[in-house]
Homo-oligomer: 360 residues x 3
């Protein structure tokens, strides 16, 4: 991927708020922006534990010349960029991926209609990229069904390339597996193709292109396919059920198609249980680190772990899905990011794979 | 590694079958090629669920000029390359690695003779690379013994560099550990060196060079060293026992020394249990994704997992070995590949780390 | 990172011992160097199992010209470089990181004083780099406390950039979490800042910068923060407790801030139990491979594993901590290295992420 694109922070982050268009954004999330992250500022008057005890020597031996930009001024300039990014979070952008797709019911079958086509997609304020998307969303709309459901998915291909859908993790009959020339013909530009099956196994799964897939998935032809079990285990009952799709292709480092500060915070009340379903659709590992609270790992690729285990940093490889539970017992805004630091921060501030878990 | 080499698909994949030399290849596997993967073709007449419902608008707004190459023609050209690769699978190439090496029995000792030398190695039809190989194979011949066996391995070094063998995973006495200048002198060009030990621990292990190893292992000086336990657990009894060595060095992305379409399918009858022993001899992780059925993970580095667990995507890091069981209850040809998609597919079609599990 | 720096082996490794400065180094470790690794040499007279049985054909078909540098001479030259690196181990360098930091006790509070500043740091003999360090050490001094302790950490920032400390893995109140503009203001050049908390959870944790962190952590602003549990489990009682911080940033591939041959061996007597606390502060995975003995994995990120499990190669991702136990039942010097081979060996010999477990 072109990392340079990530390193260029959009002008909006530096405070030019007037130039932003008025994008659609849920008011709940916008309201949060004003409260969750404004407690701290560069004005340290309220920070009782800070003491500028070396005022006279700052920039001493390392900056011997009284140059126009003093180390302190350079540090301040860097901090301003960092602050602007954080203050902008969660930033408004056009488009929101991974939105629930309601099926049409046809004689007891849940019918989902998908259209693949090329769109423009805003990953962060002012950063717009070419995307190949299902139903104009990156990730594509979330399909959520129940074990045993009869499901029909029709894909209309409005791309200029052939494509197909592989239901990654579902144990389908071979002819529904979505691999061109192995289990089906490719779906040509202009064609539609229908998959139909009874959902065999529960868990956090995915659907994505399996044709020229390094390109097509990288450009956005992917989505979450979540199957609720007939009988959930007690441990998997959660107050908040959040799906977090990681990607690192042509769109940069993204969570659900957005880069910080346009990523979406996960919000819970104190005492609530949050279930996070990690899904890696990229080409690199991403060890996700949660601040302040641990994660209890309950499932891998939709299969229950034989015994849940705890961590604060969970390594997620391409194609993997991991389900975790967080008991939100600690109020605050908790950073939540990939711990490959160049995926999360540059000298211009946080970007890419950063969001927050907000416990109210 | 030079990724560009992988991206150049050999002419054989584009249908110039006449220009291929007649390579040795097991007839069983060749016969499979004709049946397993020929059910689908670009001729969609038999695909009842395909409808070209947008014939008149294909290539509409995105290709406004009636250019000589229409989007549909471009898509067809791409699909032809994809189809050719799949139709060629499993493609014939010269040489086959990881073949069982029968020991000579000398007074109760199993004696294995290895010769390291430089050879030419065909990774995919028409793609021939320099390899440094044990007994002219990449991976080297498979050594399979039983816990408690007395084993002697003699290495003749016909390379122009010194070398050594480290038995990766075996808990040997220190003087058999194979690290030049630490546990033995290097084995100079022209020299032979003998290792001898009683096999201490069972499991899926490896042998490989431990001298200038980033180069020597990358070029092929590696092989599987499998130790059967005195008393196998019920869960590890399998109908098919398959070793899959992953590599990503100078030879490109390979399974057992071959790149798709020259990789070998794993074949089982419906109802059989397949044990797959993954071994990563490369420099990168490879999350292996199996379509259609899950894998039950039973061992790590030769050690039983305390409780088996299930997945469809297993992340395998360099030096690791993972043993899994697949219950082959679903007939069909199931794609089986690294889910770092650029290791498995380009716009020219599948290549590299792709094979299939064929359940008949 | 700049891999080329790693590939340049310092002159000291090639035997120019006279040019070395007299660095501080513990005599215990220096004494080891003379005994542990000198059993083998290029003089194979003592190696009963080596026979130069192809003296007359060495360099045969692959080196048809009687060139001034014969293959054997080239192999000898390479081996000499390999031998020199191993003979130099453990090589003396200036500075030692991860040293225990004794707290000042102030009214029942353990007080730790840290100063962040720019220093020069020697990673291997003759290889000196710019580092940003806590208390002139890379990694910073090891902080070791007990669950329930009251702890105060004061950071004096003598850098030219703002900074902060995040206590990675500790479940602290939000205002002690160390994320500038989210939980505190940045600590400006010349300022001091104080964190204070009651230690909530035990385990192998870390402290590091959370401001411009891709740069600052890469340059060395990191350290181990180890919390002993109130009631240790029987399995975690060990004779040797060793912390191994992996890094791969601006300083090259390092263990505790040093590259082979300047890495520190882990030393134990036969029969002892060694606990190793792996911490990855880098940007890449590092699958750590131990020769000769297996590791029993007991904790992840400070949390007990539900059931310990065994391996010889443990994949460690950025931000992760893994605790393992090694039962040292096999005497000898055992190689212990990252199994991404280009992180551990070049044609000039071992370098970077290599050390040894020495069982006496």
């Amino acid at each position: 991927m072109n990392e340079n694109e990530n390193l260029k922070m959009p002008p909006g982050l530096l405070g030019k708020k007037g130039s932003r268009r008025d994008f659609l954004r849920s008011t709940a999330v916008s309201a949060l922006a004003g409260t969750a992250l404004s407690a701290c500022s560069t004005d340290e008057s309220g920070a009782q534990s800070v003491s500028r005890d070396h005022e006279d020597r700052s920039g001493g031996s390392m900056a011997p010349n009284p140059a126009p930009v003093s180390p302190t001024a350079a540090a301040d300039a860097m901090d301003k960029m960092h602050e602007a990014g954080i203050k902008a979070f969660p930033a408004k952008t056009a488009g929101k991926g991974n939105q629930p797709l309601e099926p049409r019911m046809v004689k007891g079958v849940k019918v989902y209609d998908l259209t693949a086509k090329r769109i423009r997609w805003e990953t962060a304020p002012g950063q717009t990229v070419e995307a190949w998307a299902y139903n104009d969303q990156v990730p594509g709309p979330q399909i959520r069904v129940r074990e045993g459901d009869r499901v029909r998915v029709t894909l209309k291909n409005e791309l200029t390339e052939s494509t197909s859908i592989h239901f990654h993790g579902l144990e389908l009959p071979n002819d529904q597996d979505g691999v061109p020339f192995v289990t089906q013909p490719p779906i040509k530009p202009g064609q539609s193709y229908t998959y139909e099956f009874t959902v065999p196994n529960s868990g956090s799964h995915m659907y994505h292109s399996h044709h020229n897939a390094a390109t097509q998935v990288g450009l956005g032809l992917l989505g979450a396919f979540i199957v609720e079990p007939k009988t959930p285990l007690p441990i998997e009952k959660a107050d908040v059920d959040y799906t977090l799709v990681l990607n690192d292709g042509a769109h940069g480092y993204t969570f659900n198609g957005k880069s910080f500060p346009a990523t979406e915070p996960i919000v819970a009340a104190k005492g609530q249980k949050v279930r996070i379903r990690f899904m890696n659709e990229g080409m690199m590992i991403h060890p996700m680190h949660l601040h302040g609270m641990h994660m209890t790992v309950i499932a891998k690729d939709g299969w229950d772990q034989p015994a849940p285990w705890k961590c604060d940093t969970l390594n997620i490889a391409p194609g993997e899905r991991w389900d975790v539970i967080v008991n939100c017992d600690k109020p605050g805004t908790w950073a939540f990011h990939c711990h490959i630091l160049p995926h999360a921060e540059s000298d211009h501030g946080m970007f890419g794979m950063v969001t927050a878990l907000v416990v109210k």
